[in-house]
């Protein structure tokens, strides 16, 4: 209903503004109804201004920036109704090392409340996990679970093996 939508929208909006600043280490962002008179049929505009940059349509942002903005949006929505568990499948794929770090820090925070399962190819993300499972095909075409030692990942992290 209209009031419920507007209430939730306002919550997401303030969450998103705060989360964007956290993911980008500054700057500002906002979401606006293109047609505030008709919220239930209105489109939604996203304005994102990374630190030091001008506000541009988000279609002009880079692959990694869009991924960070998506993560901020995902958690902005999540905060209005935290799910007991969340599965993230390679959301860190386009991120550089500094952004993978920020992503992991934000996830670690929410992991105090919800359980996270994260699929990744990034060593930094692996190092941020509490437990690691490997999924591989020792027999071609058939999946099996293997144990992966976090200590191996973390020590290779220390010698600068990054994503």
């Amino acid at each position: 209903t209209r009031r419920m939508f507007l209430e939730t929208f306002e919550k997401i909006r303030s969450n998103f503004a705060r989360l964007f600043r956290r993911m980008f280490g500054g700057g500002s962002a906002d979401i606006l109804l293109t047609n505030p008179e008709e919220p239930l049929t209105s489109g939604v505009e996203i304005i994102a201004k990374p630190p030091g940059k001008e506000a541009l349509p988000i279609s002009m942002r880079s692959g990694g920036e869009r991924a960070m903005i998506s993560v901020a949006m995902m958690f902005a929505i999540y905060e209005t109704n935290p799910a007991p568990f969340a599965i993230l499948d390679e959301v860190d794929a386009p991120l550089d090392e500094a952004n993978v770090d920020r992503f992991c820090t934000v996830v670690a925070d929410y992991a105090k409340v919800s359980q996270f399962i994260i699929i990744t190819h990034h060593k930094k993300t692996m190092a941020a996990c509490d437990t690691l499972y490997g999924v591989t095909m020792q027999e071609p075409g058939t999946s099996t679970r293997v144990s992966v030692d976090l200590r191996d990942v973390r020590s290779s992290e220390l010698v600068g093996a990054g994503a």
């Binding site: 939508f5 209430e7 939730t8 929208f9 997401i12 293109t34 049929t41 209105s42 489109g43 939604v44 996203i46 988000i58 869009r66 991924a67 998506s70 949006m73 995902m74 929505i77 999540y78 209005t80 109704n81 935290p82 799910a83 007991p84 568990f85 969340a86 599965i87 993230l88 499948d89 390679e90 959301v91 794929a93 996830v107 105090k112 919800s114 359980q115 996270f116 399962i117 994260i118 699929i119 990744t120 993300t125 941020a128 996990c129 509490d130 437990t131 499972y133 490997g134 999924v135 591989t136 095909m137 027999e139 071609p140 075409g141 058939t142 999946s143 099996t144 679970r145 293997v146 992966v148």
Partner: protein, 165 residues
Amino acid sequence: MRIVKLEMDGFKSFGRPVSFEFTAPITGVVGPNGCGKSNVVDATRWVLGEMSRKALRAGSSTDVIFSGSATRKPANRAEVSITFDNSCGTLPLSSRTVKITRRLQKNGDSEYLLNDEPAKLRDIKGLIEGTGAGMSAYSIMEQGKMDSLIQSNPDDRRRVFEEAA
């Protein structure tokens, strides 16, 4: 309402039984391309009642049954079980753990089990969705789908917000 365990057998690339225990706050799943990581995500969606074949990257519903490999025959049925820790009483059941099972036979016959007893899909869905006013039972972000949250189409975007409200 934490996940305790996920077990699959005959589902997609899980040609033999595989199980995962999820006890930590953050569990990482890693491995080479094409080895089954996203299939773990599909198994979770499927056992919780996902019907959309597109969401499961399948052409027809029986496509999720292990279709065999060079060294293993196809499976007759797909089965996935997910076990939740219910000690916080989030789910309106008396048991400490809640186990949901979904099974699909090659001929299309489908069944659901709740704590190993036959159950109806709508009861299971009601269980998961009824854990509080519009509570989101789970949050899944699929591989390559993150961009859909910031769709360039303002109407698609509004739909994302509507689902949250």
